[in-house]
Symmetry: C2
Subunit: 293 residues, 2 copies
C-alpha cells in the first residue's frame, strides 16, 4: 500500500525548513550542524503539526523571556523547565545508554538538579552533615563503593552527598534557618571502600512555583512535588563518575516525580536502627563504579 | 518490505516520552494538551536523535536563561531567537495557510518583528514620516487598498507604516538621533482607497549581535543582516488584517534574509521620480484585503 504525505503538513511550503537548515555556513562544525539542524527540524515540525497560532507563538516567546528574567546565580529556571518536561532525565538516560545496554546494570545515574554546590566540605567518615536545627529523623547512611567489573572495593572514592532539610529547602534557599553547607558533605572511602555519615531521612518537597515552571505545571494540571531523596555524586580518577538520587521506598510521590527522575534501582529502604544513640534509622547503600576503559 | 524501528531510537526507554505526556492532569484543556504534548514529543525526539550530551544540554539551559536576561521592554531576544530559527516566518505561513491555498493570492502577510509600536500617530495622506536627520533617499510611496474578492477600493482602511532610519536603527533604539515616532505613521485611505506618504528608501541592517541571537548566528556561520524593508500593517473592521514587509528588488540580502521573511510578492521596485521637489524616488504599492467571513 502506497504511503502518502500527512495531509496537515502538505499545505505548507515543503522547502522552508530545509532552506533554514541550509542557511548554515561552511564554518559550522559537523556536530553543531547536526544538533542545530535537528533542533530546527523539530521546532518547525512541532509548529506545523499543531498549526501553532501567532498568539500561541507569542505566548511562548513571553514564556521564554520570563525563564531567564527570574533566573540568577541561585535560581536556574531554565534547568527547572527542562526538568519538568523530562529533558534532564532523558539526557541522563542518553549519556548512560551504554550502561543500560549491558545485562548487569551499574548504579544508575540520574539528574544532578540545580542544588548541587561545588563548595561542600570534606568530612570524616562517621561525621554528620546535619549542622542546623530540623524536624527530621536522623539516619546512619553507610555503604561500600565497588568496581563494577571486579566487585572489589574502591578506596579513595569521593562520595559527595547533599539533601534538603525537613522543611524541603536546601541551605542556600534558606539562609535564615540553615548555615552554609548544612546537609552537604564529601566523604572519602577507606581501604575497604566504605563510607558512613549521619544525615536526615529525606522529606518530599515542592519545586518553586512562583515562576514559569509553576505556570507550566499549572497548564499541565500537574503537582510540583518531588519525592523525598538524597543526592549523591561519586567520583574516582580511575572510574566514570556517577550522579544519583536515592528515594525512600514508601514515598507517596515515587510514581509521579515532577522531574521524572525515579528509577527502580534507586529506591531504597530505611530501616529501624538499634544501638546507635545518634540515629533512629539506618540505610545501607552500595555503589558500583564503571572503570574508565 | 517490513519497516523497522530506527536503531538509534530503540536503545532508549520506549515509554518515557508517553509517560511524561500522560502526566498531564484532567484539567488541562484539549488544545493545551495537544500543543504541550507535541512539544514534549519533539523535544524528546530531538534529544534522542542527536544523542544530546549533558554538556550540550547545559549549554542550551544557559543559552535559554541568557535570552530572558538580556530582554527588557525595548528588547525581545526571545522573539529574535525565534526569528533567526525561522519560526516567526513559519507561524505566519501557518496562520495564512488558507490564503496561500487559493489560486489567487492576496497580499502576503509576513512577520511583525519586534519594532512595531502601538503609539504611532495618525498622519494625513501626503505627509512625511521623516522627522529626524538621515542619510537616506526620500521616496514617495502610494497605493490603493482593495477588496480581494471584488477588487473595489476599501475606504477608511488604516495603513500603519514603520521603518528603520538610514543608520539601520528604529526610533526607540536610537534616541540620541531620532525623535519618538520618527519613520512611523498611520494613514487612512480616502474614498478611492488611496494612501500616500513620504518615507525613506530603506537600508539593510544587522540584528543586534551582542546577545544570544548573535551567539546562535555565529554558531551557524550566518550573517545577521536583514534586507532593507518597510513594514506595513493594514487594517479595516470588515477585513482580515495584513502585516507585511516590502523589500527593494535590488537588495543584496533578499536571498539570505536572516529571519527568512522575504516572499516573492513582497519584492517591490522603487523608480526614479520626476516633478516632485520632495522626493527623488517613487514606489507604487497596492494592498488586497480579504473580507472577514
Amino acid at each position: 500500500m502506497a504511503t502518502r504525505a500527512t495531509p496537515c503538513l502538505s499545505r505548507f511550503n515543503p522547502h522552508f525548513t530545509q532552506n533554514v537548515i541550509d542557511a548554515m555556513g561552511p564554518k559550522t562544525g559537523p556536530r553543531t550542524r547536526q544538533v542545530l539542524g535537528c533542533l530546527i527540524k523539530h521546532v518547525h515540525d512541532f509548529a506545523r503539526e499543531v498549526e501553532l497560532t501567532t498568539d500561541e507563538w507569542m505566548m511562548g516567546v513571553r514564556f521564554l523571556n520570563a525563564v531567564g528574567q527570574i533566573s540568577d546565580a541561585k535560581r536556574n529556571e531554565g534547568q527547572r523547565i527542562s526538568d519538568v518536561l523530562g529533558l534532564e532525565s532523558l539526557v541522563d538516560e542518553i549519556e548512560h545508554k551504554l550502561a543500560t545496554e549491558t545485562d548487569e546494570i551499574p548504579t544508575s545515574s540520574t539528574i544532578l538538579g540545580p542544588f548541587w554546590s561545588p563548595n561542600a566540605p570534606f568530612r570524616d567518615n562517621g561525621d554528620s552533615i546535619i549542622m542546623s536545627p530540623h524536624k527530621g529523623q536522623v539516619s546512619l547512611m553507610r555503604g561500600r563503593v565497588m568496581d563494577f567489573v571486579t566487585k572489589k572495593p574502591v578506596a579513595g572514592a569521593v562520595v559527595d552527598i547533599w539533601q534538603a532539610s525537613s522543611n524541603g529547602k536546601y541551605d542556600f534557599q534558606d539562609p535564615e534557618n540553615q548555615v552554609d553547607n548544612n546537609l552537604r558533605g564529601k566523604f572519602r572511602t577507606d581501604g575497604e571502600g566504605l563510607y558512613s555519615l549521619y544525615c536526615l531521612h529525606p522529606t518530599p518537597y515542592s519545586l518553586p512555583t512562583d515562576g514559569p515552571a509553576g505556570v507550566l505545571l499549572n497548564l499541565m494540571d500537574r503537582h510540583p512535588m518531588r519525592p523525598a531523596h538524597i543526592h549523591l555524586m561519586v567520583g574516582h580518577d580511575n572510574y566514570k563518575p556517577v550522579t544519583n538520587q536515592i528515594f525512600p521506598k514508601d514515598d507517596p510521590y515515587l510514581e509521579s516525580d515532577t522531574v521524572f527522575a525515579v528509577k527502580d534501582d534507586l529506591v531504597v529502604d530505611f530501616h529501624p536502627l538499634e544501638g546507635d544513640q545518634n540515629a533512629k534509622l539506618g540505610l545501607e547503600y552500595d555503589i558500583l563504579l564503571v572503570p574508565r576503559d
